[in-house]
Amino acid sequence: MNDPARPTGASAVTAIPLARLIEAFHRLPGIGPKSAQRLAYHVLRAPQSEAQELADALLDVKQRIRLCGLCQNLTETDPCGVCLDPARDPSIVCVVEEPLDVLAVERAAAFRGRYHVLHGHLSPMDGIGPEQIKVQELLARLGAPSPSDTAAASALIEEVILATNPNLEGEATAAYLARLLVPLGVRVSRIAHGLPIGSDVEYADERTLHQAMEHRVPLGDADGNRISVSAPPAAAAEESDRSAQPTP
């Protein structure tokens, strides 16, 4: 008769340490049971040094990585390198949802200010409200910099760019933050919406097209003057507005 306490099937022939490793990999996002098995057997077959390196890296990241007290990004030093960099403009702060968004904006090399990472977005149906993300830290940064934050104290924030994702939760987060930030007397802007480079108008949804039309960029004015495409949209819009006004 079978002993109910004894594991049966595949788990019975898998050694306990190996089963633990498979289980640990299986807990990672996007890793199914088969992938977890493959990874565990890969680690098992790899040289001792490689396994040690993986284990060290895992422990290292947990022990040494923390949040920057200023921008809330993941960092080894507090404040982080971006917040300490004197070449970056401390008067402009770009608010993003996740640390990976900072990397994406940095790759574009189009922003030389500082960041604030919310670590999430408002998600009303999941019960994620402003208390669950780094909203208070942003308000504190704008209203009352801590004494240790010498860099921020010496240069006040003049503009906050809301670069949350252009989906329902990201838009709700941006709209909520705008409500909190505008009364503080700081300029608040939202990253532009529209069609991504390389996409087709035919497949665009109505809201995207609507936003693209709303935030269109002028290329020339009624007097036949060309407006530089490379100029920032805000500057181009101002230029267009100026040209639209009647000359005295």
Binding site: G30, M125, G127, G129, L156, L180, P183, D200, T208
Partner: protein, 274 residues
Amino acid sequence: MPQPHVYRTEAIVLRQRPLVDADKVCVLFTPLHGRIEAVAKGVRRTRSHLAGHVEPLTRSRFLLAKARSLDIITQAETIDAFPALHDDLDRLSRGLYAAELVDRFTDSAADGTRLYQHLLDTLHRVETADSPDLPLRWFEMRLLDDQGYRPQLQQCVRCESPLRPDGNAFSVPAGGVACPECRTGLIGRPLSGRAFKLLRFLQTAPYEQSAQVRIDAGLGRELEGHLRGAVELALDQEVRAARFVEVVRSTSADVHNGKRAAAPFVERRAQGED
């Protein structure tokens, strides 16, 4: 006869949750198939053709492919994007509240034609009404009706005598209103005469008539408390989006009253600039 591998349906997207990589699971509410969970592949990518059509609180036409576990969205086309709902945080919070109610009350393979129409109408009303709260109260009343939790507002839930407007209590666990003589000992909250009349009106009148009623803030909050209590008891859980409605409402009131502590900050900035 073999089942077709693909099927078409119209649906309102209730919510999304991340799956793997750039994929998301969309919760769709359809008129004929009830609540469906389906995979939208690659929608987190900027060049996704589907992304804009499967955003929550969007009404779209879908082509879905049957799969072993979750069906897969192969095509989608927006019918109504509710732009005014998405562009206004107050209205958006109410729209999400309505969507969460449907998400929690409904299950798959149920005929949802009537509820679908109610949700669609409610989203349109929340989008355009002067106060986005009244359409929600009307919707809650219809939802309770549809799900078999219609509150008893005509006769006392205990002695069954016809109710008069004043001195009553609304007892959620008892399923409706208790008269002044029976309310003692019942778990419930006092129900004002105005709220009592309005609840009865909302229960029977079409929305167009209900929308004519002038409701002040106090009465609105009282109605909201009673109906949310009834909805949450029926669900046996909290409606999470209700908290968001409260948060948005508080910021909205602050903005209108100019209550946010802007002054000290502006002064500090001015001093810094000096």
